[in-house]
Symmetry: C2
Subunit: 260 residues, 2 copies
């Protein structure tokens, strides 16, 4: 059913406004995937989790096929005037379509079969979080452990920055030090990436099973998590720049560890 919405007080539009905030996402167990690419990815990878789709009339005129596919998948598409969509949008240049997606309730747990895990400890910037998720999938990591204190993976900007990896990656949320202990019991070597590490990444021989810790953008890996690590590795630097962007550093380390 493709339905026109005329009132701003419509309950779907109210829901979307709620989902822009973390509390709203937690209460409703849903999140927003905005933009043409993200909606296409949702149709392919999580059609069963598609709750509803909101599009501008203009987008419907331009991409009727996309909207009809959304209707076929979830049966609930709402059309709004462009100015209403722009108010809902989280972006500076709205494309006129967004999907509301139900949360995956299933938590990932590494087992015997996994060999590459990323542990995120206090990543605070949504763009970095999304980019790290995207990189982890592209390079072939098995899952991401999110320590308490990480920014929400379901924030609109994070979701967009994953370019669709949010639908495919395995996550374990709300992790504590005991989750790292469990990884070690499974045979994982846990390495922290830190400028104060005593091993140069470029000289590090990767173990068969490895979990890489990436810390907060400003403060690095927390003391509590660092204590659980088996080794600290640092990326060799040469210039006067104090550090790399967290997503770039994560990418360099994930790539190196995976392939050596």
């Amino acid at each position: 059913m493709i339905e026109n919405i005329s009132s701003k007080d419509n309950k779907t539009l109210k829901l979307i406004r709620q989902l822009k905030k973390k509390n709203g996402r937690t209460d409703n167990r849903k999140f927003i995937a905005e933009g043409i690419k993200m909606v296409r990815e949702a149709l392919v990878y999580v059609p069963q989790d598609l709750c509803c789709v909101v599009a501008s009339n203009e987008l419907f005129a331009k991409e009727p096929g996309l909207i009809k596919s959304c209707d076929a998948a979830c049966g609930r598409v709402y059309l709004v005037p462009e100015f209403v969509f722009d108010e809902l949008s989280d972006t500076d240049t709205p494309q006129g379509v967004l999907a509301v997606i139900n949360w995956k309730d299933k938590q990932f747990n590494a087992g015997e079969g996994e060999r590459r895990i990323v542990i995120l400890d206090g990543i605070s910037e949504p763009g970095n979080m999304g980019t790290i998720i995207r990189t982890a999938e592209a390079i072939g990591y098995d899952g991401i452990y999110l320590m308490k204190g990480c920014t929400d993976i379901y924030a609109p900007k994070t979701v967009r920055s994953t370019m669709g990896s949010i639908f495919r990656m395995n996550f374990k949320g709300g992790c504590t030090a005991s989750d790292i202990d469990e990884l070690k019991e499974l045979g994982f070597t846990v390495i922290a990436t830190t400028p104060s590490g005593d091993i140069a990444l470029e000289e590090y021989k990767s173990p068969e099973k490895c979990a890489i810790i990436i810390g907060n953008e400003a403060h690095g890996v927390s003391h509590e998590v660092m204590e659980k690590s088996d080794a600290g590795v640092k990326i060799t630097m040469d210039g006067m720049a104090e550090s790399l962007n967290a997503a770039v550093a994560a990418g360099i380390v994930m790539h190196w560890i995976n392939l050596k």
Copy 2:
């Protein structure tokens, strides 16, 4: 001289509004570095290029030492009410201070002594541009060649994303295919990073002198530039993600090439 500005029509404030646009930067040959860290970096690395500094009264109360250092360096600090600063700011969470910096007029040209160059071809997103500049400096590259069609390195968001590398990196702007020919004459091997490359990065032995081409976020390296390259390398991928973020891909390739 630390001076209070009360009128929004003040000519320094008008200049700053102009500098938020590319035309305004080109006409005035100046750019903005916003935020406490960026102003501190400017004081250390380009005090001679500091044109003036604008701060909110609130920031002056909190960081009088910083403002006095700015006054000592350039002799022109303007204080404005917070709401006026917030209108000037390019960020969602203004810190209350920005510096106006004179452009470097000197163009960089690689010579016999250089061995690592990055060639950017159509990088369009300011955050990616700034992050690549930051990475190039941190890893120890000698300079960046900017092909025509790249986003402006002096855009406010780009400057912030460099975290200060903008003041220290060497740039050659407005490059064309003939600049790549010159690098080859100097003994550089020119490699393009592309998902369609026929050499896996992880099997590539870096030459002594190497220039790496990074292409546009959506369309990759342009045909014209690709034709000038000696080889195409690709990062080995494993997941369903179609590609890496451009700044992450650039970081992985720059790091690998530099150290192998």
